[in-house]
Every structure is written in structure tokens, then in C-alpha cells.
Symmetry: C2
Subunit: 375 residues, 2 copies
Amino acid sequence: MDDGVAGPVQDARQYAELPAHMRLYRGGELSGGRIAFETWGRLSSQRDNAILLFTGLSPAAHAASSTADPRDGWWEAMLGPGLAIDTDRYFVICINSLGGCFGSSGPASIDPGTGERWGVRFPEVAVEDIARGGFEVLRHLRIRQLAAVIGPSLGGMVVLSFVAQYPDVARRLVCISGTAAAAPVAIALRSVQREAILRDPQWKGGNYHPDEPPRTGMRLARKLGTVTYRSAAEWNQRFGREPLAASRVTALPGGFSPHFAIEGYLESQAERFVRSFDANSYLYLSRAMDRFELLEHGPSLAAIFARAQLEAALVIGVESDFLFAIGEQATVAAGLETAGVPTTFARLASVEGHDAFLVDIASFDPAIRRFLAAN
Amino acid sequence: MDDGVAGPVQDARQYAELPAHMRLYRGGELSGGRIAFETWGRLSSQRDNAILLFTGLSPAAHAASSTADPRDGWWEAMLGPGLAIDTDRYFVICINSLGGCFGSSGPASIDPGTGERWGVRFPEVAVEDIARGGFEVLRHLRIRQLAAVIGPSLGGMVVLSFVAQYPDVARRLVCISGTAAAAPVAIALRSVQREAILRDPQWKGGNYHPDEPPRTGMRLARKLGTVTYRSAAEWNQRFGREPLAASRVTALPGGFSPHFAIEGYLESQAERFVRSFDANSYLYLSRAMDRFELLEHGPSLAAIFARAQLEAALVIGVESDFLFAIGEQATVAAGLETAGVPTTFARLASVEGHDAFLVDIASFDPAIRRFLAAN
């Protein structure tokens, strides 16, 4: 997925304090935590036009540009005046995940109890806690009901968790390339990514200096992520067996330097990620994705969704998604239908795999636009 | 793919010397090289019943048990008296790839010029050189014509290269889960695997001691390989979200120990591989797979195959293969057909992905048996 956007230049972030001592879903306790978020549009006088947006693993709350921060956001083409998520109509709140590294409390932030970086002393974060972070932002903003809760990828897990935990808050649900529980192939790949970081000597038990992160582990994790976020068909179209331009060849010893253009692409993705994302945050959010199991909240998906009091739901899946297979979205959609929720299941043929929601705006825009306009 | 089998207990290996100074396909020169092989069955008096078998990346020449070495081989169920590759009828020769580490010359073997391990001073090995190794074994055995040349995975590349380089030797071709040129997704994954090894401090520029290999890099490479050799559907069936038995949990720091059964499976695969395979060999053969391009041998696949004077061909592909996609086998089969070679294209629905040839014997046995019996 695309990198988060962060930097000291401009900043549209706002913050909501979490309860002073917050019990987390897997049993730990977080003291003095906070959630970073950004907003677009205006809250109506009835306070009934808010959309809560959760992100994938790596983006910040900066989903789109604004006066306060004119840089492009991670969903720039989807969120704004007149766009599919229309900020002329909706007050949109995007949440930086608890455990992340773009303003919300996480292993890279300072433990107010010690004045030092949390590192791996930060309590285990579950998908449920990320949903809770969004809920606490709503409380902070004195918003009791949502026009919709929307999330792609990890965010697609978070929105399911959100409606399970706060059944009377969201009127509508948009779950994009998410799942009610990660498949073993996704678990296996994330396990390898985490191990690459954990076994990098520079990880130092999680106590690396921010300027000396476990670069090798992060590079490997991101390269592997990049391969699996897209699809074989897209790589065929974009790169084929095109050789890497000589000027872009990074020397590696023993005659094993990159040779093909796709290797150069992985390289640029990896370098960008190492500069922008915290390794411990990566470990925390990756583990949260593996362990998420919506069925912990009820005997069946239908029972969970029936309790959620949704007026309508949109489930979007992509046929070429290798990490969150289309069948997983079909399972979510079927659970919603069984629960009696009017559900649209958009099965998209995008070639961009799991990342399609960031790229194939031509397919995602009408699906989301139609749903939000009709309901 | 399944690990190679090697050990000092018993040994059925024979050796063929390579030419004293052998020019390799990518320009290097190998002095004092040799190829390890094993054989089953008896060569007919006309010397016309030989089958040459190439392997995937990691197996040894020990494809099946024999009196000289009764341990199970990597294709035990497929090769033997009365089996699909019938050693009552055929004289079968299995080749340990040049660059490998089970008897043939490679980076782990001793450079006779210096008395030291080659390491990365070993010249670059191409798929063409592995094919050449098989050809030199035939010369050693004074065999001028083959009843068939057979190979799965990397071996499926080698057999294509073999018929391109030695057009009058093999009467029949069996190409299993191979390709005429690796797809970018496979290149990307192998690139990440190689980088995991190359950046492991224990790799030491390729000069690690055999007892202190780059374990972390090899473990990561093998785990990633294991994920991609099978299919998401198989992992769903075999493991689902089953937790890892507590006794099998390997502690990792920071609360990031394996949690799911599939992680334990990756762990056992990785440990077995680190013990049995040489890291530099892995790098060499992995690079050879990326760079293989059959079209270097002619203007079109059809032109290459037309020159090869094949009497018949069998191409087998597996629909769930993520690394060597079914479309790549279809391309090979189409090239053969255009060349006028009577071709059977077996498109198998096995759930085991790229590794199916090792596991789904119920599908592979009849396909290969029928082809060899009918032609």
C-alpha cells in the first residue's frame, strides 16, 4: 500500500485523548494514549453527516489535501468536494491507527510514564483497539451517529470490528478488500515479513534508535509486501522482463545485483518505506491483522451483523487480490445479507490486486459514489 | 519444493567429468568441473531407452530409492518398476544441477585450482549450463539419443533449454510446471529471497564457513518459497486459522512468537532446508531461473521447437501455480503445436500449486504414464 504522509512542514492533524488508563482488547493497558485524525467538510447542525474512515496498515490520517495541509493524501482522488466521498455533503474523519506512527500512540511514540519511546513495551494492539480509537475520536467530537464507516485493507477489518463493538453508531458500512479473519496465506506472508524485521540485528529487541532502524528487515518486508499487494497480471503488463536501466542498478556483491525493472521498482518502494514508517509499528499492526477474528464477537457473522443495526452495506472485493481473496469479501457480504442488511457486493475485475482501491479509481469511484448517493 | 536428499550413509551417485576448461553460457569458464547423477533400470543394447531427468532448484539426483541407496527419493512414487516412469522399460538418469550442492560442481564444492571452496568465485551458472551438464553425462555414458527428457520446475526450464541446444538428442519432451521465461512476479519473489541471504551478515560476501551459514537469510528465503510453492486454497484446507501447538512455539522477542499452525509448518520447512542446502548454491540457481529466456535460442518458440526434431511433447501445468502460472505452460504448448510437434497439454486442477508434481501423484502419474506408454 502507499506510504503514509508525514512531515513537519504542514500539519492538519488533530488529536483526541484516550481514557487515562485504557484496557486493550488483548488484555494490556495503555496510559496517556491519544489518537491523531484529520477532518474534511463540515459537521451538520444535526451532527448526522459524519463518515469515519480507517486506513490500511501504512497510511497516515492524511487521506486528502486540505487548506491546513495541501499535500496530496493517500486517497486524494476519492475524497473531496464533489468526489465519491463528497466533502460538500459529508464531514469526513480519517483515523491514524492506534499502534501506528503518524501521531497516534504506538511503539514509536513517547510513553508519558517514562518519557522514553515505548518500543515493544507498548501493549499489544488488536484491530478492535484501532476501532476503539475511532470511537474515542467520535466521543471527542461529540458525534453519536455516523452516516457511514469506511475502511480498506486493514481498515476493512477495522470497520467490521467497529460495527461489532459499537452496534448503534454507524448507519452504513463500506468494507473494502477486507476480511472477517485473515487467511493462512496472508498470515504466512506477514509472518515472514515480521521475522525479517525481528531477526535483523539492527532491530535490537525493538530498542533501535529512530535514525538507525532495522533497514534490511524493513526493506525485505516492504518488498515482499509490494509483490503481494499487486497481481502477477499487473507485473506482466507493467514490467514484463524489461531490464533495469543501468543507472538504477544498486550494486550487490557476488554478481547478484538487480537485473530486471521490477527489481528497481521494489527497491524504490522499499527505500521510501524505510524512511517513512516505524519498524515496531509495522510489527504491531501486522500482528493485529493476523490475529483478527470477527467471530470472537458472536456465534456467526450474521448474528454479529444483525446486532449492528445497519441500514445498508457495501462490500468491495477485487478478483486479483492475493492477500484478501475475493471469497473473503463474499463471506462478509453473505453474512450481511443473512442478517437482513441491504447489501451491495461489488466484485471488481481490477488488475491491481489488493492495492486496487488506491489505483483503480475508475472502478472504485462509481461503486462508492453510487452507494453513498443512494442510501 | 522438497529438500534434496544427501548424506554419507549410502550413496548411489556416479560422476561425469566436464571438459577440463568449459566455457559457460554467460561467459565464465569452469575448470575441473563434474556432474553427479544417479541411474535406475538398464540401458538397452541399442542404447535407445534412456530418459534424462532434471530436477527443481533444491533436490539432489536421488529421485528414487535403489539398491545402492534405499532411502526414498524426491520422486519416489513416480519413478521405479511399473511406475509412471517405468524403470523396467527405461534407463533413467537424474542429474544434479551444475551449481547445486549435492555432488555436482558448484559454489560449495572445492575449486581444484586452489583447493578451496569456490564460493562466489564460481562462474555464473545459466539454465543452459545445467542442460549442458546433462548432455555431458550422456556423452560420458555414450548415449546419443534419449527416449525422453523430463523436468519439473527449474527442470522444466532446463528441458526446454536442452532441446534448444541439442536438437537431435531427445525424441520426446516432458515439461512440467516450467516456463520459457520467468514471469516478473516470480523474479520479484526470488529477488527478495536472494536479498534476504545477501544481506544476512553471516553470508560474509559468500565466504561463510559451511557450519556457520547465513541461517536467517536462508530461513526467510525458504519460508517465502514454501508459501509460494503451494496455493492459498491448500493452506485454507490444511491449516486454516488453527493455532500452533504450544509445545511447538519458538519464542521470538517482543511478543511476536509464531501463533498459527501454518507458521510452525514454515518453521519446520525452513529448519530442514538450512541444514541441507548451501546458500550460495541457492543464490546461483535462483538467479539462473530469473535470467532464463528461451527466446535467446531463436526468433520464436515455434522456430526453436521446430529445429528440435521432437516426436512428441507433454506439457503439464497446474492451475493453482502462483510462480509458474498456467498461462506460461500454455505458451510452451502452443509453441510446440505451432512447430508441428504432436503435443499433449495437461492442465491440472491440483490444489498444491507449483509443488503439485511432488504431491498430487494421482494426477501426475496418469498424465506421464499415458504419454510415455503411447509414444
